[in-house]
């Protein structure tokens, strides 16, 4: 829709909900908080959609920019939250939820866990790149040049590969 007319918001919503959630989930690492922040993202997008100008960028880049800001807001506000959790205990996940259980069963669980350990910028770039954004769009969302983003992306790949191999070496031998 770049440069063209705007599709109905529901179209955008249906197309991007999973990807926005996956991005946020990778940034927050917690299902419940990821749902909350995803909700915030789409409420903001819904209210701002009348002002969204397709010429300024793809809907995906626009939504991911809102998602990134929402994650940053969330991180800023969780200082208090983390102190509270330290004081009061840990945060429970939902009870056996079919979706959550399916997610737990993912064969990619370890990979995503390694992604979550990447430095913030690398983690963002990896997630955005693999959620459908081109390097130029990723650069537009996280800031910096396209080349710098590519560099960070490939560096993150190398880190991930090393971490996965290290994990395999540490895994116990099957009997």
């Amino acid at each position: 829709v770049l440069g063209g007319s705007k599709p109905p918001f529901e179209e955008l919503y249906r197309e991007f909900l999973q990807r926005i959630y996956a991005y946020i989930r990778a940034q927050l690492g917690n299902q419940a908080e990821a749902e909350d922040v995803t909700s915030v993202v789409f409420i903001k997008a819904y209210e701002a959609y009348a002002r969204y100008e397709p010429r300024a960028g793809t809907p995906g880049a626009w939504l991911f920019q809102i998602a990134r800001n929402a994650c940053l807001d969330h991180h800023r506000s969780t200082g208090r939250r983390e102190r509270l959790v330290r004081t009061l205990g840990v945060q429970p996940e939902a009870l056996a939820d079919p979706g959550a259980m399916a997610e737990e069963r993912l064969q990619y669980r370890e990979l995503l866990e390694q992604v979550s350990r990447l430095p913030d910028r690398q983690r963002e770039i990896i997630a955005l790149r693999h959620l459908g954004l081109g390097f130029q769009e990723v650069a537009g969302v996280v800031g910096g040049s396209e080349d710098a983003v590519k560099m960070a992306y490939h560096r993150a790949l190398r880190v991930l590969r090393s971490a996965l191999e290290a994990g395999e070496r540490e895994a116990p031998e099957p009997r």
Partner: protein
């Protein structure tokens, strides 16, 4: 750049991993319905107000089954669904030792919230405010548990709420006759905002993470209403009737069966305990120290109400979590913090709910409130310990 690390297999796995990361089933439609409701509400109210820009009051960010209820109030019809919570596994960390005579006056959440000038605005002599001097016990404490623990159901609800935005608060105050006095915070959560109207002030305080209290309102009447109920001593029944009438007039929720603290000619306070639906029935809401949370109406001896305070009604979502087993709860309390140790026996245990403010909102969580008393340094201290009523298996 030729030195880019290439790893097509890893990239393929990443692609699949992100593609398979999905929200729980039903979330997509729930959120969409919530967005639709939000639009419908906005349009409806916009038409009432003749197109005046309006931010929907007290909307939740995502709703499974959303009901408008009093925050830390009886959550009667919240639906089940999606989840997330912050367990108040407080055990020793939450132990609170307070000094003073048994039955010492406990102040409600509004009275504790003094960051803003929210005190009564006098329209004549106000009744004397009872004061309680408390002394914290700072010595070592060893807890033992002799209380009979309440039988918990297999699962307990946790309620997630969204902090009212500046627009919500403006709307809340405006609907109670206090138009906005100072600009409300844009977009974000308001820590505290005051509004004034004709003979009335409304202040809304945001969630208090230290005291584990959710958003709270304080209404001050700045001039007499002319509704003098009594020229003699105010009876409990009269006080309760007056309080109920004021809350109804302001469209503020209150539970049944209030208690009245009547000082006779000096005035009265009518207290409506906040309650949460634990699934099997209502249980009291408390703050970090285990004090009950009330909607409270204060009046002078002639029946003139000068202040009302209580939890701000907010939207909530409900999720079920596994309850802690009795064996788990038995292990928890032990707050030995140093020498000399004093033994405190926790003789009472009951299920309560406590607000756990979090980013942009918070959670109402079930907890077991254990209370007892002990003697030290010639004084009697009360001790309250809260432990999560949720099972550790529900924790991350």
């Amino acid at each position: 750049m030729s030195d880019f690390y290439e790893d097509p297999e890893l990239e393929r796995q990443l692609e699949s991993a992100f593609r398979s990361t999905r929200p729980r089933r039903g979330f997509e439609d729930e959120l969409w319905r919530s967005l639709q409701r939000r639009r419908a509400l906005r349009e409806k109210v916009g038409s009432w107000l003749g197109g005046v820009p309006w931010i929907p009051a007290l909307a939740t960010v995502s709703a499974v089954a959303v009901v408008l209820v009093g925050f830390v109030f009886f959550l009667a019809n919240a639906g089940s669904g999606g989840a997330g919570s912050a367990a108040s596994r407080s055990a020793a960390n939450q132990s609170q030792a307070r000094a003073g005579a048994a039955g010492a006056t406990r102040t409600g959440p509004a009275a504790d919230s003094t960051a803003l000038d929210v005190g009564p605005k006098a329209f004549g002599p106000l009744p004397p405010v009872p004061t309680t001097v408390t002394t914290a016990y700072t010595g070592g404490l060893e807890l033992s548990l002799s209380a009979q623990l309440p039988a918990l159901p297999p699962s307990l609800p946790v309620y997630r709420y969204t902090e009212p935005t500046g627009g919500d608060i403006t709307s809340f105050a405006g609907n109670r006759g206090a138009p906005q006095l100072a600009p409300a915070p844009q977009g974000g959560t308001a820590a505290g905002s005051s509004f004034a109207g004709s003979g009335i002030d409304v202040t809304v305080l945001g969630s208090d993470a230290k005291n584990l209290v959710g958003p709270t309102y304080i209404v001050n009447w700045t001039r007499a209403s002319g509704n003098q109920a009594s020229t003699g001593a105010l009876s409990d029944g009269q006080a309760a009737q007056i309080a109920a009438a004021y809350l109804t007039q302001l469209n503020l929720p209150a539970s049944e069966n209030p208690t009245v603290r009547n000082s006779g000619a000096a005035g009265a306070q009518v207290l409506y305990p906040s309650q949460i639906n634990a699934g099997s029935g209502p249980v009291p809401a408390v703050d970090a120290q285990g004090h009950p949370i009330y909607t409270q109406v204060s009046m002078r001896g002639d029946g003139q109400v000068f202040q009302a305070s209580g939890p701000v009604p907010v939207l909530v979502r409900r999720s079920l979590y596994a309850a802690a087993s009795a064996a788990t709860l038995q292990q928890l309390p032990n707050a030995a913090t140093g020498a000399p140790r004093v033994r405190a026996d926790l003789t009472s245990a009951r299920l309560v709910y406590v607000a756990v403010p979090a980013s942009g909102g918070g959670y109402l969580e079930p907890a077991i409130l254990l209370t007892g008393s002990f003697q030290a340094e010639g004084r009697t201290y009360e001790v309250a310990v809260m432990v999560s009523a949720l099972d550790a298996s529900a924790s991350r």
